[in-house]
């Protein structure tokens, strides 16, 4: 086993290797598929049989070297047309981290794909062509990353070989980008000069740009802070189901599982944000009753503390009427259940959204009927480098629109503002008739900094009853 592989194995077995989710975005012909292919190829994530098949395909196309972009086109139609139709997921790993990459198509109109890929991303890699600099599409993608609160954004200034590895060109683009990122309220951004085709600064440091002292793309991904935003937030736990075994369960496969009796009652779920300890007081929403955590159970034995991202079963010190859809929260600032939901939605289908329309709202583990009360406006993403996105009035939303809507819910939901809680501030809109996913929603004021003072922007009001 090679030393790298050995290190990778040890890190993984000691539970030190972490999982980092990232998404890529860029316009057609910026070289996004090539960059992804290069990342996979130079991290030795491509095995020889796959490589043989793309070499054969590249030769058939008359190319003299393997076209790395072919690594990522999974569908027959994509290979035939040389385009990427839909988000694909790729995997690669280094000694310390495993990466799940959402490879999003870059077509100008596919805002919805970027939203899909970025919704779970910790890092987003945006691509620009060094010859063109920051384009409309870059601004669009960056606005989406800011809206979705992706913690880290990295700009890969690609095809730097075609501008003679010019420091001046790179600096101009990086400055433009940094300004834009600040305008939009992106928390952390960084720019890297690369040539995806030739491999400069993707995985291997380039000797052709001695003026660049920052990390390579992979170096950046390996060193970026991977503590999720959710870990630092207030505790949130959407209840998935109530666990009440009819009798004691024999589990020979789980030797360290505690023995439970027939009176067992627990609440299964995944900690969406923050942490919770045994003995801590929690609020049960939407009812509002209080209880104390009596135990945190897993088949591997009980825990003292559970943190964001962990699937556990919680027991409370008293019997309460809790079912799927309830949310357990910390006693600090629990969200007020409301029937008026205001949020920003990214419209994902070519069906139209109009005022008065009925939809289903899926939030956490609950599903509620809703009616569209008002459409405040649609986000104008055709802003230029010196301005910021603005809202424009509209009565309807359609494919790839990002709009502000107000919904009246059939039952009160404890929704957090998305800019404070990605887990309990997000929702999707579903078509009541055929179940199709219509929109991705972010509750409360938008996280785009420049839009915070928008006149339409009001926080949801609590139900008064």
């Amino acid at each position: 086993m090679s030393p790298t592989l050995q290190a990778e194995r040890e890190a993984s077995l000691q539970g030190r290797r972490t999982l980092l989710r990232l998404a890529t975005a860029g316009s057609v012909d910026d070289g996004k598929s090539t960059l992804v292919g290069r990342l996979l190829f130079d991290t030795n994530s491509v095995l020889s049989d796959t490589l043989d098949s793309i070499e054969t395909a590249s030769r058939r196309k008359g190319l003299d070297r393997a076209d790395l972009a072919l690594l990522t086109d999974g569908l027959r139609a994509e290979r035939e047309q040389g385009i990427t139709i839909d988000v694909a997921y790729r995997y690669f790993a280094t000694a310390g981290r495993k990466f799940v990459l959402a490879d999003c198509p870059g077509h100008v109109q596919y805002t919805r794909n970027t939203v899909t890929g970025a919704s779970t991303a910790h890092v987003i890699i945006l691509l620009v062509d060094a010859r063109k600099g920051v384009m409309e599409q870059t601004r669009r993608h960056l606005a989406v990353a800011a809206l979705l609160r992706v913690p880290h954004v990295v700009l890969a200034v690609n095809k730097i070989d075609l501008v003679d590895f010019s420091e001046t060109v790179f600096d101009e683009i990086a400055t433009d980008f940094a300004l834009l990122a600040r305008t939009l309220g992106v928390r952390d951004s960084h720019a890297i000069p690369v040539s995806a085709l030739e491999g400069d600064n993707v995985v291997t440091r380039s000797s052709r740009m001695p003026w660049y002292e920052g990390p390579t793309v992979l170096g950046y991904l390996e060193s970026v802070d991977d503590t999720s935003l959710e870990v630092g937030e207030d505790f949130r736990f959407p209840v998935q189901s109530v666990v009440r075994p009819q009798s004691a369960v024999q589990a020979p496969w789980a030797a360290s599982a505690p023995v439970v009796d027939g009176d067992y009652r627990g609440y299964a779920g995944l900690v969406a944000a923050g942490r919770v300890s045994v003995g801590e007081e929690v609020v049960v929403l939407p009812v509002g009753s209080h209880a104390t955590i009596a135990g945190i159970d897993t088949p591997d034995g009980p825990l003292d503390v559970a943190v964001a991202g962990q699937s556990v079963v919680l027991r409370l010190d008293r019997d309460l009427d809790i079912s799927r859809g309830a949310i357990l929260t910390s006693t600090d600032a629990p969200p007020a259940p409301t029937r008026d939901l205001t949020g920003t939605v990214s419209w994902l289908t070519d069906r139209t959204l109009a005022v008065g329309q009925r939809v289903l709202v899926q939030h956490g583990t609950s599903l509620t009927k809703a009616v569209v009360k008002q459409i405040d406006g649609v986000l104008d993403l055709d802003f230029d480098a010196r301005s910021a996105p603005t809202w424009r009035g509209t009565d309807a939303l359609t494919l790839n629109d990002i709009g502000r809507v107000r919904l009246t819910l059939a039952a009160p939901l404890p929704v957090d503002p998305y800019k404070e809680h990605r887990g309990t501030g997000s929702f999707i809109l579903v078509d009541e008739a055929d179940g199709w996913t219509l929109a991705a929603g972010m509750a409360g004021p938008t996280s785009l900094r420049t839009l915070d003072v928008d006149p339409h922007d009001t926080t949801a009001e609590p139900v008064t009853s």
Partner: protein, 314 residues
């Protein structure tokens, strides 16, 4: 600069603030998916062949519902060409995890004329019909499969919740977007949803987890001696359904299986690996993909997997 925390014996509270490890994060995500399906579908079923991915899937399901039992049945579509060691293991594992197993048999379909043998003798493609029949007759609205996105490039395109029409067909150009961890399983009568809880796992993750959780596997995953013949660059076992061909040289070799489909389409790899740790070393060093190395069914064409998936296969 690295933010990866170092291993140590920090107290639980301090350790809890570190990011979850890769395997913890994958396990939690899969458990979340199992619970969402059980809570929102009327009659889920889980495909279970006794292969390593389906065993890991069953282990995760048992964890997801503990301390209650797994709330759905297991379904195996038996091609009639399965390795006997795997069938024995399949029955033992179902019992060990306290789950009920149903078997749909391709042989029954051939015997009564509903299916015909293919000229190439492969039975894997024949599984689709009994599978779809079992889904329909069992009124199953969700079907768990152990597919992973790292296996094949058509699978890299698939959502964790994958909507299928009444013919079980997948339409890759018209998939529902999947956002955050808000899985949408709503569907019309007759449609069903394929669910892949292992989507984000890789072959090495599966083996790491098998090692960490001490999960038992069928014996043929580890090195053993077997009569084999080299066909089309692959080591095929000599068995009653894959007999020696005229003039073909055979040899006894130490081999193991990387994937376990049926005997007619699954080849062995030469190996001395007798423990999980040995296997992990070999997998890490292999220059061939899991399916590329040993699956004859994926070699039929460049889009073999995509085509089978469109027809209703997993």
């Amino acid at each position: 600069m690295s933010t990866t925390p170092t291993a140590g014996t920090a107290p639980t509270t301090a350790r809890a603030l570190r990011p979850l490890s890769e395997l913890q994060a994958l396990e939690s995500e899969s458990i979340h998916i199992f619970r969402e399906v059980a809570a929102t579908f009327a009659k889920p079923v889980m495909l279970f062949s006794g292969g390593k991915d389906s065993v890991v899937m069953l282990h995760l399901a048992a964890k997801a519902f503990w301390p209650a039992p797994v709330p759905f049945e297991l379904l195996h579509v038996d091609t009639g060409h399965n390795f006997p060691e795997v069938l024995t293991y399949r029955d033992e594992a179902s019992e060990f995890y306290g789950a009920r197993l149903k078997v749909a048999s391709v042989q029954d379909y051939i015997d009564d004329g509903r299916l015909r043998e293919r000229p190439d003798g492969q039975r894997n493609p024949l599984q689709t019909v009994p599978l779809l029949d079992a889904i329909t007759s069992g009124k199953h609205d969700a079907v768990f499969g152990g597919g992973r996105r790292d296996e094949e490039r058509a699978r890299a395109k698939e959502r964790i919740f994958s909507l299928r029409d009444e013919f079980g067909q997948w339409d890759p150009r018209n998939q529902r977007p999947e956002l955050w961890s808000l899985y949408n399983g709503r569907h019309l009568p007759g449609e069903h949803v394929r669910v892949f809880p292992l989507s984000n796992w890789t072959e090495l993750d599966i083996w790491d987890y098998i090692e960490a959780e001490k999960i038992a596997l069928p014996s043929i995953y580890y090195a053993h001696e077997r009569e084999v013949a080299l066909r089309d660059g692959m080591w095929m076992a000599i068995t009653p359904v894959t007999p020696v061909r005229d003039g073909e040289p055979t040899t006894r070799r130490s081999v193991r299986y990387r994937t376990v489909g049926d005997m007619s389409c699954t080849a062995a790899v030469l190996s001395e690996a007798t423990t999980v740790a040995d296997v992990i070393t070999e997998v890490g060093l292999s220059s061939l993909t899991e399916r590329g190395a040993t699956r004859a069914d994926d070699r039929l064409s460049e889009a073999a997997m995509e085509d089978r998936k469109r027809e209703g296969y997993f």
